[in-house]
């Protein structure tokens, strides 16, 4: 079977691939793989469209200048890479509500979008509060044996497991 058109790879093969990608990121770009600061920079770029250059002087944007940087390009690459892969393996499909959600909560599009907005808000707010996400802390930070990242990764999963269990076993159960 053609590896490139296979719908799924073993999670171990995928993980080894991502680990090797982190070698390249450190070696060639002196950077750990991460995704959430790209959202901060994008938010700043969007704010600047509305409010102009003074946005750049906000304390947080002095640390993370609203600009297109290496990590922003990485996240854009994730979009293109996943899109190309989904198209090439015949997995691309416009879907409004994911399967498990639909089975438990019904096919209502507005409900799912509002819930995703709320979840996204907490993800964006929490990632910046913790200083990283499942990539920056969860993979790149833990592999450097950073104390902050091991604590954060544990917190991501503790919070995530409790929330998912409450949603699926209590609220929608």
């Amino acid at each position: 079977m053609d590896m490139l058109s296979a719908a799924r790879w073993s999670p171990y093969a995928v993980g080894i691939g991502i680990g090797m990608l982190s070698w390249l990121a450190f070696l060639l770009s002196n950077k750990p793989l991460g995704c959430s600061t790209a959202f901060t920079r994008s938010a700043g770029l969007l704010e600047r469209v509305v409010r102009g250059g003074k946005v750049n002087r906000k304390a947080y944007y002095l640390q993370f200048t609203p600009e297109i940087d290496w990590e922003w390009m990485l996240v854009l690459g994730v979009l293109v890479g996943a899109l190309a892969t989904a198209l090439l393996s015949g997995q691309f499909q416009w879907v409004w509500t994911p399967g498990m959600w639909t089975a438990a909560a019904g096919p209502g599009v507005v409900t799912r979008i509002l819930v995703a907005l709320l979840g996204g808000f907490c993800v964006g707010f929490g990632a910046r509060w913790a200083g990283g996400c499942t990539s920056g802390h969860g993979i790149s930070g833990t592999l450097q044996l950073a104390v902050s990242s091991w604590i954060a990764a544990a917190g991501f999963f503790v919070g995530g497991i409790i929330t998912a269990m409450l949603i699926y076993h209590v609220l929608l159960g």
Partner: protein
């Protein structure tokens, strides 16, 4: 270290893009860009996400520490503080459980056509990041509380990193063996 290469912005931006394409390819092939796979992990019924993350962690850990040993890379551990790391991670976790994607996989999910990621997840994360930027000056005292800096476990214990790397790799491999034996 390849310092000259690191400073060439006209090479670094395309390089970031290329590495991102590979990252997106792998996340999609692993199924990590799917809500059902991520929620399955959080409900402890599907261990795909944990297997991907831990395999990436140990592979990366061995390689990065070799690169550092041969002076080809330097570590960039993130700083932490009790007031930042724990509440932030828990808020993220709550969002992770509600959204069913994280900042990297939500973008990959848009790539395979998930419209809840495009119209809910992505704008939600942008709004959350913008709100954090707005509240940052007021949150600052809390974020600094219990600051422990960018310490790593080897530095904390004052030992050679390999005395941590090797046991962590062995524990993760043992965990994989247990997961596979249990049919998870």
């Amino acid at each position: 270290m390849l310092n000259t290469l690191h400073k060439k912005k006209n090479i670094q931006l395309p390089l970031g893009f290329a590495l991102g394409i590979a990252f997106g390819f792998l996340l999609q092939k692993g199924g990590a860009t799917y809500y059902d796979v991520i929620i399955g992990q959080l409900l402890l019924t599907d261990f795909t996400v944990l297997k991907i993350m831990l395999a990436a962690m140990i592979t990366g850990m061995v390689g990065i520490h070799l690169l550092v040993t041969f002076n080809l890379a330097q570590l960039h551990p993130k700083p932490g503080a009790w007031g930042a790391t724990i509440p932030g991670a828990l808020i993220f976790g709550v969002g992770f459980g509600i959204l069913g994607y994280c900042p990297g996989t939500v973008v990959g999910a848009v790539g395979h056509g998930a419209l809840d990621a495009l119209f809910g997840g992505v704008p939600g994360i942008l709004l959350g990041a913008a709100t954090f930027a707005a509240l940052y000056p007021r949150l600052m005292p809390l974020l600094k509380r219990g600051d422990f800096g960018d310490v790593t476990f080897p530095r904390l214990f004052g030992i050679n990193p390999w005395f941590v790397v090797v046991p962590v790799v062995l524990v993760v491999l043992a965990l994989f063996y247990v997961l596979e034996s249990a049919g998870l």
